[in-house]
Amino acid sequence: MGNYYDLDDIIADNQKLPCKFNVTVPGLGYLEGNIGQPLDANTKLNLPLWLSSVLAICEVSQDSQTTFLDLIHPEFFNNKVINAIRANAVNIDLHSILPNYYKLCEKWCVMFSDVELIEVVSQMLKERSNEINDYGQNPKQISSMAGNKFLYSLDEFEKRLYKISTESHKLSKEWFHNQD
């Protein structure tokens, strides 16, 4: 899972997710500003994915079922966002929701296997990548108002896709029109 050298993957791992502690942890109070105090059970905190995903799986002791914390459904996967994606995937500002949306979606669904979310996100990728390819073929359009807005709404993966697609079309076009 994940590419060790992929910087976006590292950044996605650092995304903070809301979670709720199931047990009282002594000495961890500094996480919410109470230095030296214990962290109470039922406290809600934002922890980075790489930390919270492990703590959400690990049981407190060998014979208990409780884990250290529960992950709470984050707001970028909630119904409001999903419905917005369903309604108009092309115009949604994905970058401001989350710069690494697809990466995080993968990581989330590996843990919770949320089939519905994957379906919506795959459909969004298809629609948006189509738009990206169209802009890639007509580089002039990207400098228009709509094009500019679209470019800023791309997530990191989509930006890479846009770069690749534009470059490839540009090279082919150059070769085709170059008469020597």
Binding site: S113, I118, L125, S129
Partner: protein
């Protein structure tokens, strides 16, 4: 590796042009020449005014020295290409059959041996441009049906595939990653089919 991005994702058009130079083409030599043994294709004996098939790169060198006349391939004339163009319009869901290297060969012959062609070069050039555009629009339409496992590219030539390859590969990769997240268990026996790229046209 520290290669530029476009070197990593696909071939450059120039590299494909280079590959196409190895295609065989019929010439009518004006001089005789002994055969030459090379690591790749051997060059056959050339007899003056006797038709012979040789690689395109050699044909272009001989042509530049005025030592041969190139017989254009049967598809490189306005009538044939026009028929293909009409076919493209008639069947919006599939590509007409053109040689694997049609863009490269036609470009090289048009620029370096235009006096050997049967029709006026500017006519051929414009019909080729039309063909390329109509096929580009079609492939763009086809890419709307992209999914994670399957893409069929019947009758597309190497240069045309190469143009869309980086984009297609990237999107299919990501779609696959997404769909793999939710079907972990039954994916093992499906894995063998991953490398077949097909698209429904």
């Amino acid at each position: 590796m520290a290669l530029p991005l476009q070197f990593k994702t696909s071939f450059l058009p120039l590299e494909i042009n280079f590959l196409a130079e190895n295609e065989l083409i019929t010439i009518l030599p004006r001089v005789s020449m002994k055969s030459v043994e090379l690591i790749g294709t051997n060059l056959p004996n050339l007899n003056a005014m006797r038709r012979q098939e040789i690689p395109l790169w050699l044909a272009l060198i001989l042509k530049a020295q005025d030592k041969c006349q190139i017989i254009p391939p049967i598809w490189l004339n306005v009538a044939y290409l026009k028929a293909r163009y009409d076919e493209e319009l008639e069947f919006p869901n599939r590509f007409s059959s053109l040689p694997w290297h049609w863009l490269e060969l036609s470009k090289m012959l048009l620029t370096k041996a235009s006096d050997d062609l049967t029709d006026a070069p500017h006519l051929i050039r414009s019909i080729i441009q039309d063909l390329r555009e109509v096929r580009l629009v079609k492939s763009r339409k086809g890419l709307k049906e992209l999914n994670e496992a399957y893409l069929q590219l019947d009758n597309l030539s190497l240069m045309e595939i190469n143009e869309i390859r980086p984009y297609v590969a990237e999107v299919m990769d990501e779609l696959k990653k997404l769909s793999d997240c939710v079907k972990k268990d039954d994916s093992m026996d499906m894995e063998t089919n991953d490398y077949e790229e097909d698209e429904n046209y």
